[in-house]
């Protein structure tokens, strides 16, 4: 798999099916990499295999990834995705953080840069190590 430099995820805390009296949970709305919107197949598979719970409903899966019952679970997912896709790092932002960032930015290039810098950033240390070690082996 070709290396990805970074993944950016935007999430929200919402009640996806209020008419069914469901609970609110965290959902990933968008996943990007440096080339644009991330291909969801790996993320969907990861969620289905390791993060799916009783809360999950089939219908929503096509549009959002989730539900995640806590930000910890969401962070775990994001980090595992980063490892699965051999990305250098992953940056997670809530929609509130995304909105604040958009409001304060003047140019699209600054906004693009800040999406990566200003989120909750988790680095893929394993990839860094492999990169370092590959100089010797």
């Amino acid at each position: 798999m070709k290396d990805i430099e970074y993944i950016v995820g935007v999430y929200n805390y919402l009640n996806a099916f209020p008419e069914l009296h469901s609970d609110s949970a965290y959902y990933l709305l968008y996943l990007l990499d440096e080339k644009g919107i991330l291909d969801r197949s790996v993320a969907d598979k990861l969620y289905d295999e390791k993060f799916k719970t009783d809360l999950s409903a089939g219908n929503i899966h096509a549009k959002m990834i989730g539900p995640f019952e806590s930000t910890d679970r969401l962070n775990q997912f994001a980090f595992q995705l980063c490892e699965e896709m051999n990305a250098g790092k992953v940056s997670l932002l809530s929609v509130q953080e995304y909105n604040t960032l958009l409001e304060s930015t003047q140019t699209s290039s600054d906004f693009h840069r800040d999406l990566l810098l200003k989120g909750n950033v988790m680095e893929n240390i394993e990839r860094k190590k492999k990169g370092f070690l590959s100089r010797f082996f």
Binding site: L14, L32, G36, V95, N99, L102, T105, S108, L115
Partner: protein, 575 residues
């Protein structure tokens, strides 16, 4: 064969696409030169509210800057032979800074239904933010602006048409307006609205709240439009929905990385045309619009669909033999009321997959708003109408029966049909001694005929577990009973294509109609398509060949399109 549609040579940012003219982006002293060089005969001038008012209560219509002199602009355009149409945004406009709002009014960012702030990148790579139109100060300022604008038009006797435009974008196949807002500004306004709608201690269910939110959105949208209509007066022609290509959040995020390409835009063109929404490419840079995307926009929008919409207050005038109108075999009804999407959808029944595979974009999607647009038309094209039972109300029920009794063809999915309307249908059949044929094919189907009219009832809730191909087989069998005159295209994946139609002229009387097929290859691969021409079709003309090889054989047509290739083929059609 020469080009059928003129291609603008000027790639100036003042001409961002589809004959729009951004008058504020150039000096007034250059208006004449630029308009003279523009090859089109019609100019669309969007009115830039914030350009004429920085504060919201002081206005500039030629008082200070010459570039605000709309009267002079109109006169120059007319002198150089251009017909002028003004577009007045009735919602936030994604092609203007702050969505068009005077900067003092740009306070609270509007949020989409994902609670994310709208972000747009325009053709000059500027970042555009959208602000809430639910702020009462914005509405008051808009009211003052359109009053002043109306007075300006009346005093200066500017006779040009003014169309209100509701700006939006496509997301997941649905048109969303930039007016939609979930911010605190909206919440405050909505809560005031709800106070008038419910008792103080009443708790609303989530469905009721969604319905009220939709109603409130619609009310505010209508208020802006009514305001404009009343103040602009006789110049005001009506309101149009305009979908800006590439304006969704997904496309915005893709554009940030600089990897967006032609294929990212083209499906939105066809989705817009299917829903009678005007597509606009003004946010896309000319660099990206070179080649096949530009041809699609010119052929299908700037030089055909858009002029037709601006010339009539309702759908096309079918009798004009010079004008090709979109070919559609189906009119599929989807109610838009904020809650209908929770019930069984055409997507769940895999109808769109079937239609697109077999008919391309030759269908129309109509809603409660556009139903009237499609009513009372002398149908040059005979359509198959499709409805969901859960959408049926008195208006729709009467429309269905009227269509059926007038020889029309209707497919009604009984899912969600109320007991009352179910009984009324049965009574109708009994009173008119109509024979109801029943058959079981993947679900229960009833077929009723009355002269040329046909009514097919399907039980959407009774389908067995089926995959996509089984649903497609179901639709194929149902639609084949209607004997549509159509020729499918083979190997067409990746190719954009669009069918149009017109009546035959006096010297084409051997044909019943002329159908025009426009083919475009937006991919970087060579593509070859084939068509088996049945006895109803003959190749009549081949036009605007660019990087294609067209070969005709007895009863067969083969077209090889190179990357960025395109061609137009006219077929004579016999019945």
């Amino acid at each position: 064969m020469t080009l059928t549609t003129p291609v603008p040579r000027d790639l100036d940012t003042v001409f961002p696409g589809e004959n729009w003219f951004f008058y504020w982006k150039t000096s007034a002293s250059l208006w004449r030169t630029k308009l003279q060089e523009f090859p089109g005969t019609r100019i669309i001038i969007p009115i830039n509210w914030s350009f004429h008012s920085e504060t919201g209560d002081q206005f500039d219509f030629e008082e200070h800057r010459p570039e605000t002199n709309l009267k002079k602009l109109y006169e120059i355009a007319t002198e150089v032979g251009k017909q002028v149409v003004f577009f007045l945004p009735l919602t936030p406009a994604p092609f203007l800074p702050n969505g068009g709002l005077p900067h003092l009014l740009a306070r609270g960012l509007a949020l989409n239904n994902e609670q994310m702030a709208y972000g747009i990148i325009d053709a000059d790579e500027n970042l555009i933010k959208i602000y809430s139109f639910f702020d009462p100060r914005v509405f008051e300022a808009f009211d003052k602006f359109v009053k002043r604008l109306g007075q300006y038009f009346a005093t200066n006797k500017i006779p040009a048409d003014v169309w209100g435009i509701r700006c939006g974008y496509f997301k997941d196949g649905f048109f969303r307006s930039f007016l939609e807002d979930t911010s605190k500004t909206f919440e405050q306004a909505f809560s005031r609205f709800l106070q008038g709608k419910k008792a103080e201690d009443q708790t609303l269910s989530p469905i009721e709240e969604k319905q009220y939110a939709f109603e409130f959105n619609k009310t505010v949208q209508d208020l802006y439009a009514t305001n404009a209509r009343e103040n602009i007066g006789s110049n005001f022609e009506g309101a149009l929905d305009v979908a800006f290509l590439g304006a969704s959040t997904a496309k915005f995020l893709k554009r940030l990385s600089g990897t967006i390409s032609t294929v990212d835009y083209t499906s939105e063109i066809y989705e817009s045309l299917a829903k009678d929404i005007i597509p606009s490419s003004v946010l896309i840079s000319h660099r990206l619009k070179k080649g096949v995307l530009s041809r699609e926009l010119n052929d299908l929008v700037a030089n055909s669909y858009l002029p037709a919409r601006l010339s009539a207050n309702s759908a096309y005038e079918y009798e004009d033999i010079a004008v090709f109108s979109p070919l559609s075999f189906f009119k599929v009804y989807e109610k838009i009321d904020g809650v209908s999407s929770m019930f069984q959808s055409w997507e769940q029944l895999h109808l769109w997959n079937y239609l697109q595979k077999n008919f391309g974009w030759s269908y129309k999607i109509i809603s409660n708003d556009t139903l009237k647009l499609h009513e009372n038309k002398n149908p040059y094209q005979e359509h198959i109408h499709l409805f969901h039972g859960h959408d049926v109300d008195r208006t729709l029920f009467n429309f269905i029966l009227k269509t059926f009794m007038n020889g029309g063809r209707v497919i009604l999915n009984r899912s969600g049909l109320s007991e009352d309307y179910s009984k009324r249908l049965e009574t109708f059949f009994l009173e008119n001694s109509l024979n109801v044929e029943k058959v079981s094919f993947k679900t229960q189907i009833q077929n009723i005929a009355l002269g040329e009219g046909r009514l097919v009832l399907i039980d959407g809730d009774q389908f067995q577990e089926m995959d996509s191909s089984e649903y497609e087989d179901f639709w194929k069998n149902i639609v084949e009973t209607f004997s549509l005159v159509h020729v499918p295209i083979q190997n067409v994946e990746g190719i954009d294509y669009y069918w149009r139609t017109r009546p035959s002229s006096a010297n084409e009387l051997k044909f019943e109609e002329i159908r025009r097929l426009s083919l475009y290859n937006p991919t970087s691969y060579r593509k070859k398509i084939r068509m088996n021409l049945n006895k109803n079709f003959v190749v009549y003309k081949v036009l605007d060949e660019i990087n294609v090889i067209v070969q005709t054989y007895p009863n067969e047509l083969e077209v090889e399109l190179s990357p960025e290739g395109s061609v137009i083929i006219d077929f004579g059609v016999f019945s």
